[in-house]
Amino acid sequence: MNRTASAFIVLLLAVIGIGATYFVQRINAPQIAAEQRLIESRKLLDLLPLETYDNQPLEQPLDLTDTTLSHSTLSGGYRATRDGQAVAILLRTQTQGYAGAIELLIAIDTTGKLLAVKTLEQTETPALGGHLGDWPNAWLQTFTGQSAKEPTDAGWALKKDQGQFDQIAGATITSRAAISAIHDALRYFDEHRSALLGSGT
């Protein structure tokens, strides 16, 4: 037994180790990627109950037209379906808050009623407007069931602005931005309903 033999064994081990790791990585890569996509989409879509849809909405983004709305910009749209029937439309919208851009994901059912809203990104003041980023979010839940026409245009505002919604305490600008973005998205849904829901509805 000598040093050369030892070095040779170590070298052989290194080659086998690298080879085995590479091989395991190669054969598992597709499944790992699929798992990652599944977890990400579940995290993103936790505003819809899992059993209400059976497709992978994020895999089929919708082509949106006229994405610049009066107070916000739509950055994406997805259709959740069950047995081929559309059950909800998800709109990703971006608006300007107090400190920076706010990105919301808005779920609307086929009749134009709001299902849920979730904040994807925000840089509002922590402990004030920053509460917009909490999930689950009691303030955003107050919009559930509303639609573009109900309440009226005047009602789609903070109580401070003679509307009917409460605001997040100490965050008027953030609340205004969120309300306008949600209202914009609901109006957009009404205007582009057939295109968003696709054929068959």
Partner: protein, 193 residues
């Protein structure tokens, strides 16, 4: 046990405290630890007589790194949520193999080795169970997708779910153990004039 060995053994604390946030986390870590150390223990005896000095340690390092990275990849495939939370600690298992090699763990008898592993597993599960119970108020949450686990109370003590809380709990467990195994010596002390 000399000072440097004790210090090297303290590396185990990272794994113990980091992954014992819940029973599910601890079980995953134990499973991974057992499979990597088990495979390592199977392969090293074949190699050890053929290697000298440093190259044995180097070979151990390569072997441990290979097993733990393969285990990490397989964990990503089957237990991705677990891996995303605790994958950080997978690399430490490889390091632990090398520490065991260095400290002469593999030179001790099989019974002694199994006893040590059993004690570590028991401590880890005990700590994880207690932390989950006190910190989250539940037991066995996240073990399976359609079983929510025993919910004992809804709001737990948040501190215990954090690493400092784990340290405090471990210290309390150690203190309890000391009190249990050495009650006589303490009573002797009190009777001294």
């Amino acid at each position: 046990m000399n000072r440097s060995a004790a210090l090297a053994n303290a590396l185990m604390l990272t794994l113990l405290l980091g992954t014992s946030d819940s029973l599910a986390g601890a079980l995953g870590a134990l499973l991974m630890f057992a499979s990597v150390v088990g495979l390592y223990g199977l392969c090293m005896p074949v190699l050890r007589p053929r290697l000298t000095g440093t190259s044995a340690l180097l070979a151990g390092l390569l072997l441990a790194a290979t097993f733990s990275s393969c285990a990490d990849l397989l964990a990503q495939r089957w237990f991705l949520p677990w891996q995303q939370t605790f994958g950080l600690y997978a690399g430490l298992i490889a390091l632990q193999c090398v520490v065991l090699e260095h400290n002469g763990f593999w030179r001790s008898s099989l019974v002694e080795r199994l006893k040590l592993c059993g004690m570590f597993g028991g401590l880890m599960l005990l700590l994880a169970g207690l932390r989950e119970l006190i910190g989250h108020g539940s037991l066995g949450r996240g073990l399976s997708e359609d079983w929510p686990g025993f919910v004992v109370f809804s709001e737990g003590l948040h501190l215990i779910t954090l690493i400092p809380g784990a340290f405090i709990l471990l210290a309390l467990l150690l203190a309890a153990r000391q009190a249990l195994i050495r009650p006589n010596s303490i009573s002797k002390e009190t009777h001294r004039p």
